[in-house]
């Protein structure tokens, strides 16, 4: 059953897509039908899988680094008041800067390899983590903090043993968002200057009107994204068994 549902969703989505294409009559060069895409998927599977591997690596690296930097950023910002005042505006700005403006600068520093792409992905991924953990760290139960103070705890010990565990649910929330945006992070990273990866393939296919190939790449990306999301979600839930978890639908 647990494996059946995604399958049903999957088939349902595909069917809806096919019907939509048939009913609305979208031209295939704008939205190809699933059949076309399946064709491209089979015909170009070698090319697609090769690029998918590159992108997956970038996603995973970007996510790992993004979460790491995000956590680090939140810790630094919340631990050092001056860092907060100075870093927060910089981080906000970093989110507002379009990639293509930074791309030449990044390539200048990091070259054309994987590094600049991963850096780009990291830049996109880390902010939700930072923001969520930062917020979570602020919302610790004041009673527990008082207790810790009387226990002669250093600021670092309070952070480590009280604030961070208490902020883990918020952190998990941020990591979930980060996981969902990680694929787009990697794809955008590939725009910076690359000759491989699904993002490259998509831009390329798009520019050359191989729309079926583009959607085949998109399809692979979507599968990776969903698989990654639910894997991370499951891992996070396991981490937070102590956290009460109910849904409004159960009220």
């Amino acid at each position: 059953m647990r494996l059946l549902r995604p399958l049903v969703i999957f088939i349902g989505l595909i069917a809806a897509w096919q019907i939509a294409v048939m009913l609305i009559g979208v031209p295939p060069f704008i939205l190809p039908s699933p059949a076309d895409v399946a064709g491209a998927l089979i015909k170009r599977q070698e090319v697609l899988l090769g690029h998918a591997g590159v992108t997956l690596l970038e996603i995973v690296l970007g996510l790992a680094l993004g979460v790491l930097f995000g956590a680090f950023g939140a810790l630094v910002m919340s631990y050092f008041a001056p860092a907060r005042r100075w870093l927060l505006p910089v981080l906000v700005i970093s989110q507002a800067i379009p990639v293509f403006a930074l791309a030449p600068v990044l390539v200048l520093w990091l070259g054309f390899g994987m590094a600049s792409k991963v850096a780009m992905a990291t830049l996109i991924i880390f902010f939700p983590v930072t923001a969520a953990l930062f917020d979570g760290l602020r919302r610790t139960d004041p009673g527990l903090l008082d207790l810790a103070r009387t226990m002669n705890a250093s600021r670092g010990a309070i952070l480590r043993h009280i604030r961070i565990p208490a902020a883990l649910p918020a952190f998990a929330s941020g990591v979930r968002v980060a996981t969902a945006v990680a694929p787009i992070g990697a794809i955008v990273g590939e725009w910076v200057g690359s000759s491989s990866g699904l993002g490259f393939l998509m831009l390329h296919a798009n520019a050359r009107m191989q729309i079926d190939t583009m959607f085949a790449a998109l399809f692979l990306l979507a599968i990776m994204a969903v698989a990654l999301y639910f894997a991370v979600d499951a891992a996070l839930s396991r981490l937070l068994t102590w956290q009460p978890d109910t849904q409004p639908s159960e009220d």
């Binding site: 009673g143 008082d146 207790l147 009387t150 226990m151 002669n152 009280i162 565990p165 956290q243 009460p244």
Partner: protein, 262 residues
């Protein structure tokens, strides 16, 4: 035990002196110019109507009032050896304040973990056994009953082993029998320490206190001190205790009419 301030044996029987204490929350003055001694090595019990400021006084002594919490504080809190009170108190708050992500055992070991000391698991086990949580050491707080949570918090406080112990209604969620047993346990474990106990139960105060104060009125002041005879923990069936109980209840009733609940 490398940290000398946390060793109870080098500096014991500390008297805590509160002088000219003022505490107000945004205009509402709880007390002002309050002088108060917690006698070294003894149990001092504080009673008083709900909302009079007992918890606030305890927090003031523990050094937990800061402008951040919306309170204005004045006055000094000192000990007779001249060292600050802060970091020599074990504080048991009115709420149990168990960390929801830690097992009962880990909650009891929280202090040593926070100080980076090696945890004394044997002692924690023994204490948890004594408070009746031997079978619940690995349970999360959410799986404990109200009284069990309070007992875990008590075990954690006893675990701290500090010269000054501040406890805010530590037995309020316990049934009468368990309460007596844990009072005895606390009395035994905290003998020789300077203990300040806030309680609502006059019998508890009479059973445990060397001195009993009643905090009353707003701004709050201390009424006359009661010093029950005999060494605590006392036997409650003792007829003198029952007489004193009547006294104390009268005093509390008086405190109440001056007081808050209309």
């Amino acid at each position: 035990m490398t940290d000398t301030t946390s060793s109870p044996h080098t500096v014991s029987r500390l008297t805590v002196r509160v002088r000219g204490a003022r505490l107000a929350f945004g205009g509402r003055t709880l007390f002002d110019g309050l002088d108060f001694d917690v006698a070294g090595g003894q149990w001092t019990c504080v009673l008083g109507p709900s909302g009079v400021g007992k918890t606030s006084l305890l927090r003031l002594i523990a050094g937990l009032t800061s402008p951040k919490t919306g309170s204005e504080t004045e006055g000094t809190v000192s000990t007779d050896d001249g060292n600050p009170v802060f970091h020599r108190v074990a504080y048991m708050a009115q709420q149990d304040l168990l960390a929801p992500w830690l097992s009962t055992l880990d909650n009891v070991l929280l202090g040593s973990r926070l100080r980076g000391e090696p945890p004394d698991r044997d002692r924690a086990h023994a204490l948890l056994e004594k408070v009746g949580l031997g079978a619940n050491m690995s349970d999360l707080p959410a799986a404990l009953s109200g009284g069990m949570r309070q007992r875990a918090a008590l075990a954690r406080t006893l675990m701290e082993d500090r010269p000054i112990v501040l406890m805010d209604e530590p037995f309020s969620a316990l049934d009468a029998i368990t309460r007596v047993r844990l009072q005895d346990l606390a009395a035994e474990n905290l003998s020789g320490k300077t203990v300040l106990l806030v309680t609502h139960d006059p019998l508890e105060a009479l059973r445990l206190g060397h001195r009993i104060y009643v905090l009353a009125a707003r701004p709050a002041t201390f009424d006359r001190v009661i010093e029950p005879t005999g060494a605590p923990p006392r036997n409650l069936h003792d007829s003198t205790v029952l007489g004193e109980q009547g006294d104390l209840l009268d005093q509390l009733a008086r405190a109440d009419t001056e007081g808050l609940v209309s």
